[in-house]
Structure formats: structure tokens, C-alpha cells
């Protein structure tokens, strides 16, 4: 991503990569983010990836699908992906859209995400945690 304030930052922390999305991304920016991240996973031989999406006010079908794709691509390269910071109303919209979030591992925040990775996420949660699902 070039020019202007950074839309996304990807930081390396040991065997993990921590990616934070700072603002709404359009589809092409989302795709570029996906490619950057997957490339860095390979380059750093990362074992785990955390994607912080707390700044996103919308995750539509394309956004949610792209996150899912990142998770699958990362898995094929030996890394586990945890999505953190999904806002309650965003989570509700994803569910209402009818998106399958089956393969997305999520956590409340960065701390919990790191804890999940440390405990080997194989057995981690694979759906949106109940307490994060807002009531209408």
C-alpha cells in the first residue's frame, strides 16, 4: 500500500504476524492486503496470524469471504489465522447476510487472539463466540 496514511499495517512478532486494518478498505485494497499478508506469511515462515478488524464498520460478503480466503491460504502455508475485534453489529450483519463463517477462527481482542495462538488453535473456536452475538 503506497501513499497517504497506511490503510493496513502488518507487524512481525516472533513466529506470528499481527495485521491491523486501520480503515474501510475497498475491494481492490482488500485483495492487495490479502496478497501482502499471504506473501509475508511465506517470507517469515509465520506460524500464526492475527487480523485485527476492529476499525471496520462493515464486513460485507466480499470482505468476509476475503478473510476466509486468507485463513485458508495461510493454513495451506502452515499458519493459523485468528480474526479479532469484529464489532458486535458487524458480526450480526455477517450472520444475517447468510455468510458461512465456519472456517474463521475469531477472538475478542488481540490478547485473546495471541492466547489462542499460543495454545495451538487447532481446538480453537470456529464460530463467532456467543457473548459477542448482539441481540436485536
Amino acid at each position: 500500500m503506497t501513499g497517504g496514511p497506511k490503510l493496513v499495517s502488518i507487524l512481525r512478532q516472533g513466529a506470528y504476524l499481527i495485521a491491523s486494518v486501520h480503515t474501510a478498505l475497498d475491494d481492490s485494497q482488500m485483495v492487495r492486503f490479502r496478497d501482502d499478508l499471504v506473501e509475508q506469511i511465506g517470507r517469515h515462515r509465520s506460524r500464526g496470524v492475527i487480523i485485527d478488524v476492529a476499525a471496520l464498520d462493515v464486513l460485507d460478503s466480499f470482505g468476509a469471504r476475503t478473510l476466509r480466503t486468507i485463513g485458508e491460504l495461510a493454513r495451506l502455508r502452515g499458519a493459523v489465522t485468528v480474526i479479532v475485534g469484529i464489532q458486535p453489529d458487524v458480526a450480526f450483519a455477517i450472520v444475517s447476510l447468510g455468510m458461512s463463517t465456519g472456517s474463521l477462527v475469531t477472538a475478542l481482542d488481540l490478547e485473546e487472539g495471541l492466547a489462542l495462538l499460543d495454545h495451538g488453535v487447532g481446538a480453537g473456536r470456529s464460530t463467532l463466540p456467543d457473548r459477542r452475538r448482539p441481540r436485536r
Binding site: 485494497q29 462493515v58 460485507d60 460478503s61 453489529d89 444475517s96 447476510l97 448482539p134
Partner: protein, 341 residues
């Protein structure tokens, strides 16, 4: 408009001695101001009238001056001083007369009596055996027609289709219900002539409260559309969750435009009746959807793996409809109510 008359008279009387000539110039000024009223922002009519009055006098002087100079010549070999300005003024004037001639006698008399002579609606109603309200409504319709005919005359265009005039009229009159009836938005996407001509008509209604129109051409516009929808809907006090549902639904239908049609627009408006709510229209002039029923089935898609767009958006909103015609395009209409009945 009527309040401008004394001012215009003063400006012209101060510069032109001949009373009959001055009155002609007053009439000409007012006719021009009337014709241009559609292009002038509210509150700017007075300065516009001043400028017009001065231009009318200036062109008269130029005319007299040229006449005087030319009296010495047998043949005038010189081009006029400001050919462009003169030409423009003449074209504008001709457009006004042509536009006026396209109104019915009754419409023309009424309009001129009110706008130029300054007769008020009540006294006009008395003469016509009508009510002041009916006269005012008639005046509005006539003004709307005059604006349309003026623009057509100025452009030297005859509208290419039967639908053009009704659409332009609905836009000119700012009549939202009528605009929906004639599907003005779609016609503007399809008809180059109306798209060009309606710009000054629409410019008046821009920034209308409670409505935004976002042209959709690229990925970035999808984000712009959903942000605009969220912002507008927040004025009705929707919950954060509902705002996110609305923004997400707009994102889906806007993406549909980019992926399937290439370009189109999303119009978001606030509804007061029958209940408060937010209304979204997404339209394009793309290839259209052959089988709308099929397109509404989850997982169906003609482009790579993104089958959730329309069915997903439907689930997020309270009302949802798709109209599509092969070769003409697709219109998605959806509503979210603020108050559940």
C-alpha cells in the same frame, strides 16, 4: 420575482432617459431573469437581476454606438465589438421567446401577468374564477414547462424519445412522485440528451435534505455509497446494528453494479410516509439479469464465487425488489423501516 421589478426599474431609469425604451428594457430584463431563474441559486436572484439589467443596457448602448459609427460607412467591414456576448444574448433571447411560444396562450398570459406585470395570485384567481392555490399550482407547472422548453430551445434540440419531455418536466417541477412514476432516474441513465439538459434542472434540487445520489463506477464508490447511506440513515436515529445492516446491504447492491454492469448509481433517501425509513435504489444500465428468481437463490452467481450479493442484501432489509430487463439494466429497490409498525 415580483419584488425585483421596482429594483430593475430603478437601475434602468437611472441610465436610460427615454421612458418607453426603459420600459422595454425592464421587460426584457425580467424575461431573461425569469428564464434563468432555474439556473440561479435561491437568494442569488437579486444580484443576477442587477447584472442582467446592466447587460441589457450595455448591449443597447453597443447597438446604438455601432449604429452611430456605421452611419459614416457605406459598407461595414468591421466585426462587431463583442460578437460572442451579443450572440449569446441574442440566442438566449430567442430561446426565451421560443419557449414562451410553446406554452398555451392561457399559460403564457398567466405567467407573464404574474412574473412580469407583478399581478398576485389572489387577483389573478379573481379574474379567472379560480382559487389562489390553484393559480399558484398552475404557475408552478407553467414555470417548470418554461424552464424545460427554454433549455431545449437554447440547446436547439428536439428530444429523441417520447419519454424525454415528461421526465424533464418532472425534474423541472421537482415533483418526486411524478419522477418516480416516469422512472426519471433510469431515463437519465439511458438518454444522453436528457442527462445533459437536466443538469441545470437538477442543480436546483441538489443538496436536497434527505437524499443522496452516489454514482457507482469503481470499487471505491462501493465504500462511498455505504458510508453515505449510513450517514443519512443515522439522521433517523436507527440503532447502530440497523445502520450496519443498511450499510452492508448497500455495499452488496453497489458491488453488484460494479461487477455486473460496470456503472450505475445508488440513491438513498429518507422516507417519512407511510412510516419513517430509509429507501435505497440501485440502478444500472448493464446487461440485465436473465433469471431474477434464480439470481435470488443463495450461491447462484455468474461471477466468481460471490453469490451472496442480492439474496444477502434482501435478508438485511425489510423490503426488497429487483426489476431487470435484458439489455436494459437492473434496478434494485430496498427499504429499512425505522419504526416497526
Amino acid at each position: 420575482m415580483t419584488s425585483l421589478i421596482p429594483m430593475v426599474r430603478r437601475i434602468i431609469a437611472a441610465r436610460v432617459d427615454d421612458a418607453a425604451l426603459a420600459e422595454d428594457l425592464v421587460q426584457e430584463t425580467l424575461t431573461r431573469v425569469l428564464a434563468a431563474a432555474s439556473r440561479v441559486e435561491t437568494g442569488m436572484l437579486e444580484p443576477y437581476a442587477i447584472v442582467t439589467a446592466r447587460n441589457v443596457i450595455a448591449s443597447l448602448w453597443r447597438e446604438q454606438d455601432r449604429h452611430r459609427r456605421n452611419q459614416h460607412r457605406v459598407v461595414d467591414l468591421c466585426p462587431s465589438d463583442a460578437p460572442d456576448a451579443d450572440l449569446l444574448a441574442r440566442e438566449e433571447q430567442e430561446a426565451v421567446s421560443l419557449a414562451l411560444s410553446r406554452l398555451s396562450d392561457r399559460e403564457r398570459r398567466l405567467l407573464l401577468a404574474h412574473e412580469v406585470t407583478g399581478q398576485d395570485t389572489r387577483s389573478l384567481a379573481g379574474e379567472l374564477g379560480s382559487t389562489a392555490g390553484a393559480v399558484a399550482a398552475q404557475l408552478n407547472r407553467s414555470r417548470a414547462r418554461l424552464r424545460v422548453e427554454y433549455l431545449l430551445a437554447l440547446d436547439r434540440t428536439e428530444p429523441p424519445t417520447e419519454r424525454c419531455r415528461p421526465v424533464l418536466l418532472a425534474l423541472s417541477g421537482g415533483d418526486r412522485r411524478r419522477q418516480r412514476e416516469v422512472d426519471a432516474g433510469r431515463h437519465l441513465l439511458e438518454c444522453d440528451v436528457c442527462a445533459r439538459l437536466s443538469e441545470p434542472l437538477l442543480a436546483r434540487g441538489q443538496n436536497r435534505d434527505g437524499e443522496v445520489c452516489i454514482p457507482i463506477r469503481s470499487d471505491g464508490d462501493i465504500v462511498a455509497a455505504r458510508q453515505a447511506a449510513r450517514e443519512l440513515a443515522s439522521r433517523l436515529g436507527f440503532s447502530r446494528t440497523d445502520l450496519t445492516l443498511i450499510a452492508t446491504a448497500v455495499s452488496e447492491v453497489a458491488r453488484n453494479i460494479v461487477r455486473f454492469a460496470g456503472s450505475g448509481e445508488v440513491v438513498v433517501s429518507l422516507l417519512e410516509r407511510p412510516r419513517r425509513g430509509v429507501h435505497v435504489v440501485a440502478r444500472d444500465t448493464g446487461p440485465g439479469i436473465a433469471d431474477v428468481e434464480q439470481a435470488m437463490v443463495d450461491g447462484y452467481s455468474t461471477y466468481s464465487g460471490l453469490g451472496l450479493g442480492l439474496p444477502g442484501a434482501r435478508r438485511l432489509m425489510d423490503e426488497f425488489a429487483v426489476a431487470s430487463e435484458i439489455g436494459r439494466g437492473t434496478t434494485v429497490t430496498m427499504t429499512k423501516w425505522r419504526d416497526q409498525r
